[in-house]
């Protein structure tokens, strides 16, 4: 099967479709034609969304100006997540998972130095300066810093619909992506063959060598056409419904939070994503445990507590149902699913967009220039992403397993039956030793050991070490922890508030434009 791959056809024009199209076009020369078919009938799901720091690299690679992106996509800076009420639900129950990487040193050293010298501080406050910067509502950089450069590692909160729109114009005018606005009527090709073309309503058959399914939960090519099965994980992650609202700020002096705030309730949790012009808030819950009315009242309570001037009745509430799980494979024959068509998990750690970026990156950097190598690459792609989906599920589950909340929903989350075996093993191990790089074998883990350390010790997990292991380099770790506190002092003095920086950058953009 020797056949050059020249024509890539992407179906679906959401963020997944346009990000993939942009990355493909930006990283390859013009011998590859990228076409995107976007149905004028399907509207994208537009909630405020969080990204990972990887998005900075992605946008830079695509060739977008950060100021333009921030202004046109109503984006703000995100430096991590804060989890309120996840352990006990008490008013002082809060911990942070910042994007900052750990100080250098062996986990064993860092953990023990923290316990010995800094136990009055939280683990995160001990090992990084970012948590205090976030707590004070400060930005991750100063106004004159170069685009995409960070004093403190950061990602974005953004309006996904606006991002898709910006990428549409950028990809079509600057990157040579062909844009067809039409509805796909039929997939041409047998189930045990490659797809040869897509029949559209007005543009006839669109031929292609490689097809990318970015049709969202619809999964038109991989799910509907090839009938690739769905690995249901709702027995691990119970949430299946969300009520979402867009909440305006009381006035334009209210701080714009620089982290995603996730607040637990009796049957799920509530996301609060701060954009420059509004907050996107969503109440996630398990319909097996909780009625819509109960979820509504949890959302109502949260809105009041978080300073919204408007009540829930004044806002337009949208209900979204979603699955938990992923496809048995993502790349089948000459078809790859990227985005929600590949799977969906609750947005607890903003894994949706990063999976799009990682999928697109792996495809783009290892592009099958010929049909003969496609199956080899597909096999590798599938192995890699099944591992990643599984690790994300483990990590999301960790947030529930460590809770002490008494409600049935939370108790069910802690029942052994619902906890993946690998996570159970790791938790047993971590009772004896802190998480370390040795627990995570992939070269680029989606969630590295640092993330586990932040969540475990943020939630009060106890590691009781058998202390035969000596310190590797205690003095160096102590020195670094002192430098962290020095950094806190410097950064909290020089960093502008998140709102002030966003306002300034917007002004700079408007002045340049």
């Amino acid at each position: 099967m020797s056949q050059a791959i020249k024509n890539v056809v992407i179906v679906g024009g959401g963020t997944a479709g346009w990000l993939t199209a942009s990355l493909l076009a930006a990283r390859h020369d013009t011998s590859i034609q990228v076409t995107i078919i976007e149905s004028p009938e399907v509207s994208s799901v537009g909630v405020g969304e969080g990204t990972w720091p990887t998005m900075r690299k992605t946008l830079k690679l695509i060739g977008l100006s950060e100021k333009e992106f921030l202004t046109t996509c109503d984006a703000s800076f995100k430096q991590g997540s804060r989890f309120d009420g996840w352990v006990t639900g008490d008013s002082d129950d809060s911990y942070q998972h910042p994007f900052a990487s750990l100080i250098n040193g062996a986990s064993h050293d860092i953990y023990n130095v923290w316990k010995e010298f800094s136990s009055d501080r939280t683990f995160a406050d001990t090992v990084c300066a970012q948590t205090e910067v976030c707590a004070q509502g400060l930005a991750p950089k100063q106004k004159n810093a170069p685009e995409y450069a960070a004093a403190l590692n950061y990602a974005y909160h953004l309006d996904a619909v606006k991002l898709a729109k910006l990428l549409t114009s950028h990809a079509t005018t600057k990157l040579g992506v062909r844009h067809i606005s039409d509805h796909v009527m039929q997939v041409i090709g047998e189930k045990d063959e490659d797809i040869s073309a897509l029949r559209t309503r007005e543009h006839g058959n669109i031929q292609g060598d490689l097809f990318i399914d970015c049709t969202g939960l619809n999964s038109l090519l991989l799910g509907k056409h090839y009938e690739i099965g769905f690995v249901d994980k709702s027995d691990v992650l119970f949430n299946d419904t969300a009520l979402t609202v867009q909440v305006p700020y009381a006035d334009d002096t209210v701080p714009i939070a620089s982290e995603t705030i996730s607040t637990a309730h009796d049957n799920g949790w509530i996301w609060d994503i701060a954009l420059p012009t509004r907050r996107g808030i969503g109440c996630v819950y398990s319909s097996r445990h909780c009625s819509d009315e109960k979820a509504r009242s949890a959302l109502e309570t949260y809105l009041k507590a978080s300073g919204s001037l408007l009540e829930l009745d004044d806002l337009s509430v949208r209900k979204i149902s979603f699955p938990s799980g992923y496809r048995e494979k993502f790349w089948h024959r000459n078809c790859i699913a990227i985005g929600l068509s590949a799977g969906f998990l609750e947005p607890l750690e903003a894994s949706a967009l990063v999976l799009v970026e990682l999928s697109a990156e792996l495809l783009v950097e290892n592009f099958p220039s010929d049909r003969s190598v496609m199956d080899i690459l597909a096999k590798r792609f599938n192995e890699s992403f099944i591992y990643r989906w599984e690790r994300i599920i483990d990590f999301l589950k960790l947030h529930y397993v460590l809770s002490k909340r008494p409600q049935a929903y939370w108790q069910d989350h802690r029942s052994d039956m619902s906890i993946p075996e690998r996570l159970q093993d790791l938790l047993a191990l971590w009772k004896q030793q802190p998480p370390s790089r040795d627990d995570f074998l992939a070269l680029d883990e989606v969630f590295p050991a640092a993330s586990y350390l932040y969540v475990l010790y943020g939630m009060g997990f106890e590691t009781r070490q058998k202390n035969s292991l000596k310190f590797l380099n205690k003095d160096e770790v102590i020195k670094q922890l002192q430098m962290v506190q020095q950094k806190v002092r410097t950064l909290t003095a020089v960093m502008p508030s998140n709102r002030a920086l966003l306002t300034n950058l917007k002004k700079q953009y408007n002045a340049e434009a």
């Binding site: 004070q136 002092r489 020089v494 002030a500 300034n504």
Partner: protein, 238 residues
């Protein structure tokens, strides 16, 4: 307009100081006070000159930054285009003031009307606990150095006057567009008289540590050429 008040960790807890440098932020000045204890750094970049006060009865020491009123040739893209900024520039918008009207104690004051003072943009002065930030600590150190130098300057100048070492300076500076700028009202060291200073004078100067700053003032005159270069660069940009 100025509005000088004593800096208070209560009232000014949340203020920020914009550290960019521009005319809009009040940095458009053709000269600033300088003090002998910073000459070592100042003479690298700026001509050091004497200038009579408004009453024309006392000299003060200044670093020259431009040739006409309001012209500061060191402002470039909202930054200060030199490695060292004179203390009097660094400490803006802070100053030393008396703790109370009759007190001899001094404390940090701030000009609240300065465009550098802001609530959103710039560096914090106090942290959330009301403790001085590193920035304020560095300002305090610089104010201290400036204050010390300022206290000692009159004696130094008196000594120079005693030996008649200060002479008037008139310079005509021709720019590349043919225009001529006349620099008037400034004074410098009379090099001839310094060379001929008798052993008595030399001893007095040396014992008080006045020789070094005096030679630095002389050396700093070569910076007039680079100041002209800066001006020419502006002229040629149109």
């Amino acid at each position: 307009m100025t509005n000088h008040v004593a800096l208070s960790k209560v009232e000014h807890k949340n203020i920020r100081i914009k550290t960019d440098r521009s005319v809009e932020l009040g940095d458009g000045v053709m000269s600033c006070i300088t003090v002998p204890n910073e000459f070592r750094n100042v003479q690298n970049h700026y001509p050091i000159l004497f200038q009579l006060n408004a009453e024309r009865d006392e000299f003060r020491l200044i670093a020259l930054l431009g040739f006409t009123q309001g012209e500061n040739l060191f402002l470039k893209n909202e930054k200060w285009d030199a490695r060292y900024k004179p203390l009097a520039i660094e400490v803006q918008p802070f100053l030393i003031g008396k703790s109370s009207k009759d007190s001899s104690e001094h404390s940090v004051h701030i000009d609240l009307d300065s465009p550098k003072v802001d609530m959103d943009d710039g560096i914090r002065v106090f942290d959330n606990d009301g403790k001085p930030t590193e920035y304020l600590e560095s300002i305090q150190a610089k104010l201290g150095a400036l204050h010390d130098g300022y206290q000692n300057s009159p004696d130094y100048i008196k000594c120079l006057q005693k030996y008649d070492l200060i002479e008037s300076l008139v310079m005509e500076i021709e720019l590349i567009d043919g225009s001529v700028n006349r620099l008037v009202g400034f004074h410098t060291i009379n090099e001839d008289k310094l060379n001929k200073l008798d052993s008595h004078g030399l001893t007095e100067m040396s014992q008080n540590g006045y020789l070094l700053p005096t030679f630095m003032i002389l050396a700093s005159m070569s910076n007039i050429v680079s100041l002209v270069d800066r001006k020419n660069a502006l002229v040629s940009q149109g």
